[in-house]
Amino acid sequence: MSAPIEARPEQRVLATRGLTVRFGGTRAVDALDLEVRSREIVGLIGPNGAGKTTTLNACAGTVRPAAGHVELLGVDVSSWTPAHRARHGLGRTFQRFALCDSLAVAENVGLAVEARHAGGRPWKCFLAPRGARTAQAARVRDALEMCGIADLAGRRVGSLSTGQRRLVELARAACGRSPVLLLDEPSSGLDPAETDAFARIVRNIVADTGASVLVVEHDMTLVREICAYLYVLDFGVHLCEGPTEAVLRDDRVRQAYLGNVEEPAHA
């Protein structure tokens, strides 16, 4: 199934303006303008070293841009810490997992609620409004069910497979109920069946929670499945953008990234 090509939604939830990131002498990302609109799944693709993950990190605040701005839900968050952005409405997953191996799956997912609640105020590590615990448990349960891993709730993350860990990270991002989600190469380490399931879950999350998603991805099957709109980067430079099918047919994109591959048979 390919995402239907239609006009992009009006409301902008995440945008970069002239985003430039330098690592020493190299420009990992060069003057990138990018927009994610409300309830839209946007893909960020490009060859290795194109600056995709760097862009994602700059949006999340873990990388300091040399120039440019990041706008989240209509607010310029360029100078904010990652935690501040997360509380403002940004959730993310990591290509290399950021999970706590010795904690249970439910505890890892619950971190999305607990860390947001505690934020930068230490006393909130102890205090919570009445009923917070049950509300949190319900949210965690919902997120786990949405990702189809409710049966893993009590397992320690250290004992899980890569595919299961991807889902735990996704569940955590969903549990935070952020309006904007950043997914960093969610299919890496997954087999085709797992990738299919993952695509279905991401679409469900968007349908259920109304989140908007920016996803960095290499797997064109997944990109085709979920993304409505694509940005293509090459050596940190914005190569082209547009609705998924149009971009994947573009000659420049084929040359820079896809090569002259045939269309997958099932597409």
Partner: protein, 643 residues
Amino acid sequence: MPAVNDYLPFVVSGVVAGSLLGLAAVGLVLSFRTSGLFNFAHGAIAAAGAYVFYELKEIRGLSWPLAALLVLAVFAPAMGLLLERMAAGLHGVRAVYRIVATVGLLLVVQGLAAVRFGPATIPLNPFLPQGTVKIAGTFVSYEQLIGFGIAVVGVLGLLALFRFTKTGLRMRAVVDNPQLLSYEGDNPTSVRRGAWVISSVFACATGLLLAPSLGLDTVVLALLVVQAFGAAAVGRFGSIGATFVGGIAIGVASTLSAKFIGEHLPNSPFWAGIPDVAPFLVLFALLVVTPARKFFDVPGSNRTATGRAVTPRLHWEAVLALAVVAMLVPVFVDTSLSVWTTAASLVVVFLGLGLMVWTSGQVSLAHAAFAAIGAAAMSQFLDAGLPWGLALAAAGLIAVPVAVAVALPTLRLSGLYLALATFAFAVLLQQLVYPTQAMFGGGFRAVARPEISLFGLDLAGDRGYYYLCLSMAALAAATVFGVQRARLGRLLQANAESADAVAANGGDTTTIRTAVFCIAGFLASIGGALASGVTLQASSRGYGYTVGLTWVAVLALFGSRATVIRATAAAYALAVMPTQIHLDPGWYTAIFGAAAVAASLLSDRQFDLTRGWDRGRVASRLRRREFLPPRPVARPARAEVRA
């Protein structure tokens, strides 16, 4: 210009002392960069070298050149090789254990030296030729000249090694990427071994050259070479040249400030201490102002995954058994009840330390300093007329802003730098503030017990005070247990394992870490205040920086789960055991240190003393003679020899 002439001798002696500091610091940085293990025992190695020299020269009657040769050519390289094995064994263990291990080694050296040579300072007769020469209008002794010359030659030699030889090139490559070097057909182990040997020789040379002017004293010598930390910070724990220059700059700053303070601010114990702690001021200031990314971080050092459940469970049977035993103690012991009271107050201290080190993964080496703050504050608040309970609470609370001030600047860095900063803080406080009226005023301060009777028990009496401390310990245990089960506990655990995860979900990692440091400081302070009530006096004795190190080492011995049980066991081991089995206190220091080293090495249960040894020695030699193709890692060395 008379002013310049006045200061010139101080500049000269500063350059000389600083160059020795720089030499030690260069060794420290070299081993740190090549193996990723920061050697807290670097100063202790220097002290050990000086002690061996003393043993050989003064006790065994060897001539000084022979003794020096044995120290520098046999003892120091042997220590270097041993340290390389230790660093290899510590590869990939939890960051906490990497710190605990070298701290344990420091304790071993200090303890053994105290056993063999006694705790007092031993004067070491000058052995280098005496006499002075006039340079630039100021007299410089031959000793100073030789020391300076050795330091300069050592560091220049190292730089030349880096620049012109293959070994040096490999050393630089190991610093950058050990994995890559082994792919290229060179053996990182042999390179690391070389680096540790050089590091150890530099340390021992510094020890020998400094010993005649300072005397042999583990604490002073360790402290002095430990000041190399400051110089290493100037080189951002990476640059050899900058580290050496930093050492000289610190030496000059130290002597000049001594001159200035001696003239303008005499009779102030606080200011008199400044020159000694100049390197620590530098270290602390640099840790605070330098951006985090400029500091070298040990790859994989944030790995804390134990794979075990950490949320503690309540073991009712254990709690009940402990409670019953603790309640019955006064029935069975009589005169030595004070020991058990001290143990109970130490439990409070260790609970905080356990929460910090083992739940949150942050090593604080200044815990004894916080206990000292509590003891001093308690006596002062009681003097000021506060009722006992209020004074205790205030003594605890006063540690909180101090903890914030220490922690906040360094928590953005990795655990190693927090350990360094807390270590610096502990030494600063001990040298600068303990002797002032603000704390102990160089003597003893009276501490009273509460003049209250509860349930017919006089709390000021020995038995009453025991139960008071015991209930405080129980209260603290319940608090820590609660914290671990609560949101903060999960956040701490999550933060220790993946700070990225916490930040990406909106948790402010620095705030969380600061919070736990505050709790730990509070508990340490309360514990110190309670302990001072045992002897009815507070003094700087028992709160030296070595004590802080010992506490961390002892706590490391009791497994990584169940903070409450761990803290209780550590407190009783430390307080009660020495009163039951009478040994030289040095033995206890050494034993606790050695046990901490062993616990660290065994923490991932993969330690193998022989791993990498054959391959390193045999294969690299054969390769050098071009018997072997440059590919040493794939097959074991013995197979290659046969081929």
